[in-house]
């Protein structure tokens, strides 16, 4: 069963065609990583699938057209974390994470105890609870990213879309992110992430390999065909090695 599926004829941004003829089925309860060279259209695909930009074609969330979903209900079903989103400098980290509870709150209602629990749990998961009183603008890039990740986790949506979630994170916190994703998937949630770090992406359940606005291949990283597609879109300039049962990609000069 698929959590999200799409058949997109075309997606354009400011008159430029970014994506063309994409049909995807993203399995529920799995972690799918979207990879590809710079400018392949990965972020645009994630935005299109999240209903954040107009598309020519159709996106189905739980077998129902995305634009048929009431805004708030959709926001509870699908959480999105953007790449390099600026702003929020004057809000405290706690207030930022609490924004993730917005889709659950009645209009102007005060946060419930469930909201507080969700915020605390999400901030504990990303180890950002200690800075809850600090302004977002005073945090380092990695600290900020962990607060924003907690914001997306606090939505507690069955489907979590993340665009370059590892930006600014050091290796221990990349490992933490991996553990969070595995726990989410083990709990039945669906995770879709655009990833720059191929070594992390190769640990996903599914890879979507993109190049030049199209999907070249979709499959498990364990399949030889998936790795061949990866080599193809990166112009055969990868060295794919298996170490301790885990595939790694190194730049090949």
């Amino acid at each position: 069963m698929s959590a999200l599926s799409c058949s997109l004829h075309r997606v354009s941004l400011q008159g430029h065609e970014i994506l063309r003829d994409i049909a995807l089925d993203l399995p529920a309860g799995r972690w799918t990583a979207v990879v590809g060279p710079n400018g392949a259209g990965k972020s645009t695909l994630l935005r299109a699938l999240s209903g954040l930009i107009p598309v020519e074609g159709q996106v189905l969330l739980d077998a129902r057209p995305l634009h048929d979903w009431p805004a708030k209900q959709r926001a509870r079903a699908l959480a999105w974390l953007g790449q390099n989103e600026s702003g929020g400098e004057d809000l405290t980290a706690f207030d930022v994470v609490m924004l993730g509870r917005l889709p659950h709150q009645a209009w102007l209602a005060a946060p419930s105890s469930a909201d507080h629990a969700a915020v605390q749990a999400a901030m504990a998961q990303t180890q950002s609870w200690d800075w809850r009183e600090r302004r977002l603008g005073t945090l380092s890039g990695g600290e900020r990213q962990r607060v924003l990740l907690a914001r997306a986790l606090a939505v507690q949506a069955p489907l979590l879309m993340m665009d370059e979630p590892l930006a600014h994170l050091d290796p221990p916190h990349q490992a933490d992110w991996l553990a969070i994703v595995r726990a989410l998937v083990a709990g039945g949630r669906t995770v879709v992430s655009v990833l720059h770090e191929l070594n992390v992406a190769l640990q996903a359940d599914e890879l979507v390999v993109m190049a030049a606005g199209r999907v070249v291949h979709q499959g498990s990283p364990g399949d030889a065909a998936t790795r061949a597609a990866l080599q193809q879109v990166f112009e055969q300039r990868l060295r794919l090695l298996q170490v301790e049962g885990q595939w790694l990609a190194l730049p090949h000069t």
Binding site: R47, S50, G51, L52, A71, K72, Q73, R74, A75, R76, L78, A79, W80, G82, E85, S86, G87, G88, E89, D90, L91, T92, D95, V96, L99, G100, L102, P103, Q105, W107, L108, R135, L148, R151, V155
Partner: protein, 326 residues
Amino acid sequence: MTRPAPLLALLLALSAALLLLGIAVGSTGFGWPADEIGRQIVWDIRLPRSLGAWAAGALLGLAGAIAQGLFRNPLADPYLLGGAAGAGLGVALSLTVFGSTIGTSIGLHKLGLSGAAFIGCLAGVLLTLMLARGAEHTLRLLLAGVVVGVVLTAGTNLLMLMKADIMREMQAFLLGSTGLLGWPGVTLMGAALVASLAIAMAGSRALDALTLGESTAQSLGVRLGLMRIVLIAAFALATGTAVAQAGMIAFVGLVAPHLVRNLCPTTHGRLLGLSACTGGALLLAADILARWLFAPQELPVGIVTSILGGAYLLVLMNRRQRRVAA
């Protein structure tokens, strides 16, 4: 860093103290009235004037907070989106058509100008919305606001060139003044403050979500188009009423939200109210200074706010630079 509740209490106490001071300061210096005429001066002139200055400042502080949140820009002020240029043109048109001394009643004349400024301000914002074809795109809104501002200001300048005798009154309006505020103006501004604050509060969560960017806000289920219209309505009502009663007082709307954010980082639900209180206290303090500095002469309050606001921004700029350098 302060908490919102103590800051609100502090601002209200400060406002009350300033109000007492505002009642006591007159053209003869400080003093409490001893006789009937003195009491009449306090009741009919100093009290409404002081309350009016507070209300006008509160409206501007609120409009500034809405604009800075909506456009995610700390330099946004209440005079964006063509409102100021529209109000200016409205006043210039009214002065040109009806002459600068309509009848003999100052009150009627003032009423006419206030109405013209209010209608002009709303017309300017509406024109901007029309040119931007709605409120879906922030950048298009801002650009349309610039276009409307430039074109309407050109119209105002043309009128002033053609009819030079309106120049003096136009200048007084452009500088802003709290000198002629009476009870009707206070009532009107009070009502507008309650209404625009209530409308803006309805969109306060949307403003919070917007701080993280339009896409994030959208992903959180905020209906951006609708919220922008609602917030622009509150913004236009607050700006239009303040400009109509007190002219184009500079800097209060820009500085008040800044001060609040510096003192106490908080969400828009509280920032909006705190900015209004700060704007009120600022303009009332500036009004008292304007009356007292060169008494019995009086400065236009707009000059006082311009100098104080400019000085504040300069201090802020230097502090930012030091923080970046550190």
